[in-house]
Amino acid sequence: MYIIIVGGGRLGYYLTRALLDEGHEVLVIEKDATFSQIINNELGSVSLHGDGCEAATLEAAGSGRADIFITVTGDDEDNLIACQLAKHKFNVPRTIARVRNPQHEKVFKKLGIDATVSTTNLILEHIKHELPSHPLMHLLDIQEKGLEVVEVKIPPGSTTIGKQIKELPLPADSILSLIIRKEGKPTVPTNSSVIQAEDQIIAVTSPESEDELRAALIGE
């Protein structure tokens, strides 16, 4: 696969190294000539000095044959413009943008960016996972379908413990896919499955029904 990365900072550097190790053809576009040279010296001829927001640079980078275009600069605006250029001018099939401000994620999605990665949200999800007051965690966004895979932990003392799944007022667009019991045994949930304390339930839902699903499963 030919992967273009815009931004040769620490994130871009380590991402490039990991993708090269996986056997992909990778090119990093970096604005700063010194950083670009450092990457070339350390990883081989994989860096192009230039502005990833300029069509001429993307042309020189061979964006027309790229399979994936990733932007990881520190500026959301640059990441958005570079991804849009790649998507609409060079028809790159998959664009992925780093988003610093989580409020920008919706705008990126509306403007056609295939996937966004928000470090703030990632850290927040980990915090939620560690805190019993946040029993719902996002595992995966299926953005093009408007769905997400979430994990709900049943806290001890939850009013749904001992109830069968058919008794729970689950949202219509949510499906429970897996229950992982306290002792680590995974089972496929059926209508007669009984909720137990510290179950981890993996579900597919829409972002709109997320709160309703959590309330149905933990009994708020």
Partner: protein, 142 residues
């Protein structure tokens, strides 16, 4: 000083002939010396590295066969190779490392860029990164 494995990057310039001649005379000092002539085709990023660029390959073959003829006239054998790379300098260094070369011999012309003498990008890169000795052969009459 004796060299056992000599790499001569050729680019199709007038300096190639002198570089091959010098490589032959250095190789003759030691009977078992080997000469490798390589031509590097720079491949644009818009193409995959292994793309078959026919006009460039044809030109490279002409350049290398000319190098072979020059060496034959001086009683030496040359092993030739065409390389495709994103950048010429790193390709020469990789080749020198891979073939365990002990001398890189490059012909240079006196180029001027905006009225100033300029070595270009490739020669400084090779001088900086070569894993062996490097001889730059500048001929007065070209």
């Amino acid at each position: 000083m004796e060299f056992h494995r000599i790499l001569v990057p050729v680019a199709g310039t007038k300096a190639d002939e002198g570089a091959i001649e010098l490589a032959c005379s250095l190789a003759k000092r030691k009977n078992k010396s080997k000469i490798f002539a390589v031509h590097v085709i720079p491949v644009e990023r818009s193409l995959p590295l292994d793309a078959e660029i026919k006009p460039e390959i044809g030109r490279a073959e002409d350049i290398l066969s000319q190098a072979e003829n020059i060496a034959q006239e001086r009683g030496c054998a040359v092993e030739t190779d065409i390389l495709q790379a994103r950048e010429v300098g790193p390709a020469i260094i990789d080749e020198a490392t891979e073939r365990e070369i002990d001398l890189i011999l490059m012909g240079v012309t006196y180029k001027k860029h905006y009225g100033q003498f300029c070595l270009g990008d490739i020669l400084p890169y090779v001088l900086k990164n070569a894993p062996c000795r490097v001889i730059l052969d500048h001929q007065i009459d070209i």
